[in-house]
């Protein structure tokens, strides 16, 4: 294939006053790949996502999107280009309804902002919003104010809003964190199905190995700012380094993940507490 890969990361590095959060990261993702990013807290997963989407500027290295250099661009430019993300803590407009959230997102995304000069409630935007709510199965909550939603529904809204700009590369930061066990698989089913249909390249950060096993084509394992394994799940989850530094020896059930910190924490094996 001669086409440039959907996403290519070359020798990406990031340090925060002496602490290395990313050390020579090299990744290639083709169109339609579904990739799981795993690693203990502080391993550098969110820093990686933040750099690709422009929230953090890398210290050195390159990020390419379909051959185009997007290193160090602003988040809104990343969105315009086609690289979008969802958030570990859902970032939605709390005082607006689900429908209004999507209408605003659509108004901004359409025609690079020209739709902003007319009402967000125009018929084609409303139809599009309805379609998206159906696809993500949040239609029942269309008129509910975002602050009243359950975590699961809010996550779906967050992801739906990230998809509004029709990205070719989508990064999901812990899409099932904070979501009840019953809802986790439901959410991933909905999301992955909707995205596979459009051929979107998806990279998502996840702590739950069951989810990783079920949905991904490839696994990227992070440890102390480096990628220690880049392989299909069957292989990756048996890799000794991955077992040592990420999964833990007894395959302990998933703990509620805490927010990433920029400092590389002292990493040990995930304890069995």
């Amino acid at each position: 294939m001669n086409a440039a890969p959907a996403l290519k990361v070359i020798d990406l590095c990031k340090s925060f006053s002496g602490i290395t959060a990313a050390n020579n990261i090299n990744v290639e993702a083709a169109d339609g790949d579904i990739i799981g990013i795993i690693g203990a807290n502080g391993a550098g997963k969110t820093v990686f996502v933040n750099m690709i989407t422009g929230y953090l500027k890398p210290t050195s290295g390159k990020i390419e999107y379909h051959g185009k250099d997007i290193t160090g661009i602003e988040p809104r430019d990343a969105t315009h280009v086609g690289v979008c993300r969802s958030f570990q803590v859902s970032q939605v407009f709390m005082t607006m309804t689900v429908r209004e959230n999507l209408l605003i997102a659509l108004a901004i995304a359409k025609d690079e902002g020209k739709a902003m000069l007319s009402s967000p409630r125009s018929p084609d935007l409303v139809a599009e919003a309805d379609r998206m709510m159906q696809a993500y199965k949040i239609h029942d909550h269309a008129d509910a104010v975002a602050s009243t939603l359950s975590q699961g529904v809010r996550k779906l809204l967050d992801i739906a809003m990230a998809v509004v700009a029709n990205p070719k590369v989508l990064l999901l930061d812990e899409p099932t964190s904070g979501v009840s066990v019953g809802e986790k698989f439901a959410i991933m089913d909905i999301v992955i199905a909707a995205l596979k249909e459009k051929g979107v390249t998806v990279l998502f950060v996840e702590h739950d190995m069951e989810i990783v096993e079920r949905y991904v084509d490839r696994v990227l394992a992070f440890y102390q700012g480096e990628i220690i394994c880049d392989a299909p799940p069957a292989e990756a989850l048996q890799d000794p380094a991955v077992i040592e530094y990420v999964i833990g020896h007894d395959h302990a059930p998933n703990r509620i993940p805490s927010a990433e910190t920029a400092n590389a924490a002292v990493i040990g094996t995930e304890s069995n507490a």
Binding site: T53, E74, P75, R76, T79, H80, C84, R85, Q91, V92, F93, M94, T95, M96, E100, L103, I104, A105, A107, I108, A109, E112, G113, A115, M116, L117, S118, S119, P120, M161, A162, V164, A165
Partner: protein, 318 residues
Amino acid sequence: MLQILRSDKTVRWTLFGFFVLAVTGNFMPTWVQNNLMFGMARGLAVLGLMVLWRTGLISFGHALYFGIGAYAVALADKHFGISDIFLRLFLAMGTAGFVGLCLGFILRKYRSIFFAMLSLAFSMVLYGVLVKVEALGSTDGFSVSATSILGWVPESKYTLFCAIIVASAVSACMVQYYLKTGLGALTTAIRDNELRVEYLGYSVAQAIHFKYVISAALAGASGAMMAMALGQVDPDSMVNWTVSGELVFITVMAGPGSVIAPFIGGVVFEFLRTYAFELAPHAWQLIVGGTLLAIIFFLPMGLWSLLERIWVRKGSSS
């Protein structure tokens, strides 16, 4: 645009209400006319502040643009003899808007208390200049000659009264239209979650800058109208931080609920002031301060929310 406006209830009520006001104004005693004039003139500035407030920003320094508008009229009158209302408004809004554009580049990066303080600082810079420079009138200020309209000098203030009403109605409708577009919806979006707006692909700084310029131009128009209505300008009643404080007070008292609210708030403020001065000349500030506290504690969405509640109750009982 006309589609949105024609179907909008607020626009219809606004036009109707202002029309009634204009007609009945002819038969009102002068002091009532004056209060309405001053109240609605101030309402223009409050309209701009309301847009900023909806975006999550409160400016403690809008007296800057109010003062620029007023002094632009006064200076143009003094040095160039300009008395035409359209020219005056154009000058006032243009100058204020231009300054807003320039300062907006800096202010758009600030939020919360820093935004408030920096806007205060800018307004006090102007105050400092006006108060000390003789050529600009110093603390006494100077007078403004009567306003003309395309050459005709009206005898009574009624014409100016109608002009202010028209200006208010037009601004209210235009802002209403603005709020109904996607750009207007951004106000609440930015207030709710700036990060998300950026990630959706819109520059928050640019959006805030635009709203800031609108509010500056509106405040400039407000100051100009005030100067014309009063016939006089001076730093203490137009540029001092207390003026900014009054404008913010009216904004909070009126509430962010509707584009008509700022004008109702402005008028209520004027009448309150007149009555307070008559009843207890040394308790005016006490009343304002007490009202401000009461609103913050008990009616945070302002008087408009009270009116809405009464409306709803009437509607549901009928």
